[in-house]
Amino acid sequence: AQSVAQPEDQVNVAEGNPLTVKCTYSVSGNPYLFWYVQYPNRGLQFLLKYITGDNLVKGSYGFEAEFNKSQTSFHLKKPSALVSDSALYFCAVRDNTYGQNFVFGPGTRLSVLP
């Protein structure tokens, strides 16, 4: 069965510092990995995804993520955090042997402090 873990409930980082939000996954087949962000009172906004190819994926708002097959990880990163990046971040996975739905991680709340 598919599963996603986000080991940190909360990540705090100072504005201007690099940030990392961690995600590990378990799938039966080849993984398709996604990051979504949820701002207060808003829906889930797509940030980026890994399907195949280059392990480093670049997405919206300066975010990027690195797919590491041996560690089954897909950590979200940004070189310089902004206060406006403060939100709830969800990692999600699908695999090529399973259905159409996403399996989401529990979410990580990112707080960027001025």
């Binding site: 996604f34 829906g43 797509f46 995804k49 996403f102 989401f104």
Partner: protein
């Protein structure tokens, strides 16, 4: 940029009542989904819909739930007899295709409170 929209944003209902949550997917999308997020918990898949029929559903999506595309634009989730545990945020999503690598675009959600 096209967006998925949902109405209402908030709904309060009494236990046992029927509710209908409405969604307008992105216009050229063919696959539609409902997810829910109980407060403090992860987002969970309910159902996917394509070509006017359910293509997948989870264990959560039991007989009290139904989905419909009543016209060319709306996609609805009906809960026939609400229970306290149905209180959650319900998200609609859509995608152009149902492929595993396809991005799903989510609406802002409907917060349902069952009293």
């Amino acid at each position: 940029e096209p967006e998925v929209t949902q109405t209402p944003s908030h709904q309060v209902t009494q236990m046992g009542q029927e509710v209908i949550l409405r969604c307008v997917p992105i216009s050229n999308h063919l696959y539609f989904y409902w997810y829910r997020q109980i407060l403090g918990q992860k987002v969970e898949f309910l159902v996917s819909f394509y070509n006017n029929e359910i293509s997948e559903k989870s264990e959560i999506f039991d007989d009290q739930f139904s989905v419909e595309r009543p016209d060319g634009s709306n996609f609805t989730l009906k809960i026939r007899s609400t229970k306290l545990e149905d209180s959650a945020m319900y998200f609609c999503a859509s995608s152009t295709q149902g492929a595993q690598g396809e991005t799903q675009y989510f609406g802002p959600g409907t917060r349902l409170l069952v009293l």
